[in-house]
């Protein structure tokens, strides 16, 4: 069997070239979906029978919360691949996913606080979901600061990779321990197995926003990865060509 395609996947140069072609599409589709989702969410969907207009915070809150957990998984899987097979590109992916995920976690907490104030009458409660989301933020911050504490970037990669893998074992434990401890947050409204308990117009807006946010985060992660590739491979000839070529292009 020909394994060339597999080795090419882990080549930073290949990633840099292919992402240059993909990025405009990922970003463009995400912005279109986001525009459609915002329109649908703010103007075209019905207000909630209980929560009124303030339910519209959901269209930002749920997607960011979803992305916050998804990008932790992306980060941990990438870190595990990088740690086990010693693939540099996978470590770069993990390092680039962390700040994106941390930002989404912060946004989910922030929008949640603004939803909680009118609904529950308080900015913050020590509820299961809120607490485990806050712990998720701490795990992201620990990963980022552990990586930055090492002077040698490759040692930092491996150390932070170990932490990400330990964290992924702990996430279900933290989630369930906190859930059994205390809960006020409403349950999930979208599930694969049941008929959604949402009005169709709300569901469309929510799904549009979820896809938009995921694509947007992926695009930001790709930008970060491209920077990471350039700064780590800065002694390679192709990087010099890319950077110098761009500067010459600007001078003209």
């Amino acid at each position: 069997m020909n394994w060339q395609w597999f080795h090419r996947l882990s080549s930073p140069k290949w990633f840099y070239q292919i992402s240059e072609r993909w990025l405009p599409w990922v970003m463009g589709v995400s912005l279109v979906l986001m525009a459609a989702g915002i329109y649908q969410g703010l103007f075209n969907s019905v207000p909630d029978y209980q929560q009124g207009e303030s339910v519209r915070i959901m269209y930002l809150h749920v997607p960011t919360a979803f992305a916050s957990m998804m990008f932790y998984m992306v980060m941990a899987i990438a870190a595990a691949i990088g740690y086990i097979w010693r693939i540099k590109l996978a470590h770069m992916a993990a390092i680039s996913a962390a700040p994106v995920g941390a930002a989404m976690t912060f946004l989910a907490l922030f929008t949640g606080a603004f939803w909680g104030k009118p609904m529950w009458g308080t900015w913050w409660v020590w509820d299961a979901r809120l607490t485990s989301e806050l712990i998720l933020l701490f795990l992201y911050l620990g990963f980022i600061s552990l990586h930055q504490a090492f002077e040698d970037r490759e040692v930092g990669d491996r150390a932070a990779g170990v932490l990400a893998m330990v964290g992924v074992v702990n996430i279900p434990i933290i989630h369930f321990s906190v859930e059994w401890w205390n809960t006020l947050h409403q349950g999930a409204t979208i599930s694969k197995f049941e008929k959604p308990s949402l009005d169709p117009s709300m569901l469309i807006a929510l799904l549009l926003m979820i896809f938009a946010v995921i694509l947007f985060c992926s695009a930001i992660m790709m930008y970060r990865m491209r920077n990471e590739v350039l700064s780590r491979e800065n002694n390679k000839s192709w990087v010099k060509e890319v950077v110098l070529g761009k500067q010459i292009g600007k001078m003209k």
Partner: protein, 219 residues
């Protein structure tokens, strides 16, 4: 092999006894700050005492992690042990067991004294000792991963708390939860079973993570 390594660790701890006493004094002082800051009222203290003692035990266990690897790392002993003892897992296990014997166990033994100072009653004191007995080994186990990752860093201390404390949260929830159920006269065997599950799970998984962490650091 494990026995020899363990004896070496205990001897090393015995020779710098100050490091053993400091976490205990820290434990005592932290707990005694709360009645001064919150209220000396007995009814209130007996209600929040379980949480205070658990948090203080957790912090004391975390602060003493430093003694686990740091000296051995800086004089090169850790590297030699990892290379020459045949099994890096037994090195790590010996360090974890000796850390628990020198920090966790004294905390468990000291806890009834603090529980009485916090006006806790008979049942709750028993539950507190039992949960600490199951919980402190988990603290040593998880802490060994965080310490292994940060041992080579100059600013390791603050970072260690950022890495380790989020991972300590489940054991804190169940430990303090069991004690408060016991104080209300309810059955707390469910919480104990969970803590036992955490203990068994971390005994079987943590050595791998811990060895991986040290291998990153001693490169």
């Amino acid at each position: 092999m494990l026995g020899k390594l363990l004896r070496r660790e205990l001897l090393r701890h015995w020779r710098c006894r100050q490091d053993l006493i400091n976490p205990l004094i820290f434990f005592l002082i932290t707990v005694s700050l709360f009645p001064l800051a919150v209220t000396p009222d007995g009814a209130m203290l007996s209600r929040i005492g379980n949480g205070i003692i658990w948090v203080a035990a957790l912090l004391a266990a975390m602060l003493s992690l430093e003694s686990m690897y740091r000296d051995d790392f800086y004089d090169g002993t850790l590297e030699l042990l990892m290379l020459q003892s045949g099994s890096p897992y037994s090195v790590v296990m010996a360090k974890i067991i000796s850390h628990w014997l020198t920090t966790g166990l004294p905390l468990v033994i000291m806890s009834p004294l603090l529980a009485v100072m916090m006006q806790m009653e008979g049942d709750a004191i028993g539950a507190l000792m039992l949960t600490l007995l199951i919980g402190t080994p988990v603290l040593s186990l998880i802490g060994s991963v965080g310490m292994g990752l940060t041992v080579g860093l100059r600013q390791g201390g603050v970072l260690l708390s950022l890495l380790v404390l989020p991972l300590y949260i489940p054991i804190l929830i169940f430990g303090a939860g069991a004690v408060s159920r016991a104080a209300m006269g309810m059955d707390y065997s469910g919480q104990l079973a969970f803590m036992g599950a955490f203990l068994l799970g971390s005994i079987s998984l943590v050595p791998f993570a811990s060895v991986a962490a040290i291998k990153v650091s001693i490169r």
